[in-house]
């Protein structure tokens, strides 16, 4: 009669093992997609590492690296249709790039340029959400609008393991279940929420099992296995398109600091990090492609060079973009500026002269 704590054993979906060999059933994925998935991972990692460097040089602001989470983000975003929407947190640079945000736009964001939030003008990506959990409700609302208008578009909320503790996460999953909305909650369980380990975030053995609270589907996937993530997301999207919301837990690891303002040596052991480096998503996928003869070292080097070039160009573009003007902020509060804002806007211009 008692539902005992963690009585349900949750099995992880895996396709590639750490060495890149197929564990489960061979996935039915065309070669070009296999290669594309890997190329995206190369681009994302290249962007990520450059951003980190640029931040250290003081050329961009606070940055939240996603190194280690490329498979989770790219495997999931690559499965989307253009008409689907993503609702990212601050760590979703890889997913955002795949879904159409430009690298230069992301640089603008990290540079504190107002235009950094304009992703939705070019693609179906919501602006970066800073408040943990809030985006889950926007995704639900978006899915609701899409169902209302029969748009056949799935909304995907990205959130971290820590984010699952927030009230908004709960309310979002509950609404999704009640209204049978086309929404996927994609949790990247990267083991840490800043300095708090997964084990102290919740007493549930898995995050996937939280689906049980909402009468929706849940699944846990090896988040460093891009093929497992991609296939799982494909299935999830099918369910979601039929109005069956899904909670996915992608088990992965934040190899870097929480953000450039964080020092992880304060709270975690190097051995842990090392152990997870063995499970690195790029390494694994590369080995798989090499083994299939779809890839070689030369191509690999070339791809990193292309990516490097792309990132450089994007940073140049962002750097040469017009910087934000203080006066612009007054134009972005309401459709029409009330008197007070006009007055304040005028006062700023005057003061510029004063300084």
């Amino acid at each position: 009669m008692w539902i005992e704590p963690n009585e349900r054993i949750v099995n992880q979906v895996q396709i590639l093992d750490e060495s890149g060999s197929i564990i489960g059933t061979n996935p039915d994925i065309p070669d070009e997609d296999l290669i594309a998935l890997y190329k995206w991972m190369v681009q994302a990692r290249t962007f990520d590492q450059r951003a980190l460097k640029l931040q250290r040089q003081g050329r961009i602001g606070t940055y939240a690296p996603m190194i280690g989470q490329e498979a989770a983000q790219i495997g999931s975003a690559y499965a989307l249709e253009k008409r689907d929407w993503i609702y990212p947190s601050y760590r979703e640079v890889a997913a955002s790039l795949v879904h159409g945000v430009s690298m230069s736009n992301f640089f603008l964001y990290t540079m504190g340029n107002l235009q950094g939030g304009s992703s939705a003008s070019v693609t179906n990506v919501f602006p970066v959400q800073i408040i943990i959990g809030a985006q889950c409700l926007h995704a639900v609302g978006g899915a609701w609008a899409s169902k209302y208008n029969s748009e056949n578009s799935v909304s995907v909320a990205y959130i971290g393991d820590g984010g699952t503790s927030q009230g908004d996460f709960h309310e979002a999953l509950n609404f999704a279940g009640v209204y049978k909305l086309p929404v996927v909650f994609f949790v990247q369980n990267n083991q840490w929420a800043i300095s708090v380990p997964r084990s102290k975030q919740t007493a549930s053995d898995t995050i996937a099992q939280k689906a049980a609270a909402y009468g929706i589907s849940g699944i846990q996937v090896d988040g460093n296995d891009v093929l497992a993530v991609y296939s799982t997301m494909k299935e999830a999207l099918e369910r979601a398109r039929e109005g069956k919301p899904v909670l996915i837990e992608a088990v992965t690891y934040r190899q870097g600091p929480h953000t450039t303002a964080d020092d992880p040596t304060k709270y975690r052991q190097n051995e842990e990090v090392e152990a997870w480096l063995d499970k690195d998503p790029l390494k694994r996928m590369k080995a798989f492609l090499l083994d299939r003869n779809l890839w070689n070292e030369e191509l690999d080097q070339q791809e990193f060079e292309i990516a490097n070039e792309k990132v450089s160009k994007a940073f140049e573009k962002a750097s040469s973009s017009p910087t934000s003007k203080t006066s612009e902020v007054f134009d972005l509060v309401y459709e029409q500026k009330p008197k007070q804002l006009i007055e304040q806007q005028n006062s700023i211009v005057t003061e510029g002269a004063l300084k």
Partner: protein, 326 residues
């Protein structure tokens, strides 16, 4: 023209707006079959179906948050928060999400949505059902705050709020829902958001108020004028964010005296902003300190004492007397 109570006017306007624009959908607790705890949405589900009039689980953050998500994707949600005291639960979605999405997205996304909520006291409710929390949103850029004081205003302001391209908190004075009827045109009309209504012109003093206290102020002023042979101007703000500076300042420049009346607690409330504004822009026209007649700086109290706690006739008169004594 038909005579309507405020709740009827609200119900009628919701119906008309839903007929006019099928992107308008209503969501909230008990708004469907039950028609809302005050019957604001009575009959709407029968007319428009469960798709457009949606009962939600009890989760205010989700009500507002999903409305933000809908609005950003092209719908025009009208969310109901059952009583304003529960808006604390949705504070992030109100002040950090709905209010800021235009800003955050560099203008590429907007949240054209309305959050309706009954508020104000005098009707003997349980705790946290009578709070006036509009002041919190006056201090939350990106949100507009609108409140009617009559059935006519309710219709014109609610229609304008639903058609506005920014998020609007639309506050309905609970005690006025059925307090009186007045002529309300069935035809479409809008009242401008951000524009105050000079209810009555006067020369000797300005009383600035909004929402639930408007009828009371009218009565008190009438008596006062009769007894004292004075001429008092009454401004019904209708919108408190953004404030209609021009109307307030012009009036005080004329009368030189101001009393502000609201039910929200005094400290840090809307009255503080209005007073500061007058100080800033019309100080040298003032013949007397500005007096705020408001809720006291305590939690909204139990029913047995609320009549003394609220800005009642005695306290408003006293305020007017005080300002005139200078």
């Amino acid at each position: 023209m038909t005579k309507m109570t405020m709740i009827e006017a609200i119900n009628f306007t919701l119906q008309k707006e839903m007929e006019r624009d099928n992107r308008v959908i209503c969501l909230g607790e008990d708004i469907g079959k039950n028609g809302g705890v005050f019957r604001a949405t009575d009959g709407l589900q029968a007319l428009f179906g469960e798709k457009r009039v949606v009962d939600t689980p009890i989760a205010e953050s989700a009500i507002v948050g999903t409305a933000v998500g809908m609005a950003a994707r092209g719908l025009r949600p009208v969310a109901e928060i059952q009583f304003l005291g529960f808006i604390y639960e949705a504070m992030d979605q109100m002040a950090a999400q709905a209010s800021r999405i235009r800003f955050r997205s560099a203008g590429t996304l907007t949240a054209p949505m309305v959050v309706r909520s009954p508020f104000g006291g005098g009707v003997r409710t349980p705790e946290l059902h009578s709070d006036s929390l509009e002041g919190l949103f006056l201090h939350s850029p990106g949100m507009k705050v609108v409140m009617p004081s009559s059935p006519y205003d309710a219709k014109g302001l609610l229609a304008a709020s639903i058609r506005d391209n920014d998020p609007v908190l639309f506050l309905e004075p609970m005690k006025l829902y059925r307090a009186f009827k007045e002529e309300v045109p069935e035809e479409d009309y809008l009242l401008e958001i951000g524009k105050a209504n000079v209810l009555k012109e006067g020369e000797d003093l300005t009383v600035i108020t909004y929402g639930p206290t408007v009828p009371l102020v009218k009565t008190v002023v009438e008596q006062f004028e009769k007894q004292e042979g004075l001429s008092i101007e009454i401004i019904d703000l209708r919108t408190i964010a953004p404030l209609d500076e021009d109307t307030i300042i012009a009036s005080v420049q004329k009368t030189g005296r101001a009393v502000i009346v609201h039910e929200a607690v005094k400290t840090g409330g809307p009255g503080a902003e209005i007073s500061a504004l007058i100080n800033e822009k019309a100080l040298f026209h003032l013949s007397a300190p500005i007096i705020r007649v408001t809720g006291f700086d305590t939690p909204y109290p139990v029913p047995s004492v609320e009549d003394d706690w609220l800005p009642n006739a005695a306290r408003i008169s006293q305020g007017i007397h005080e300002v005139l004594s200078h």
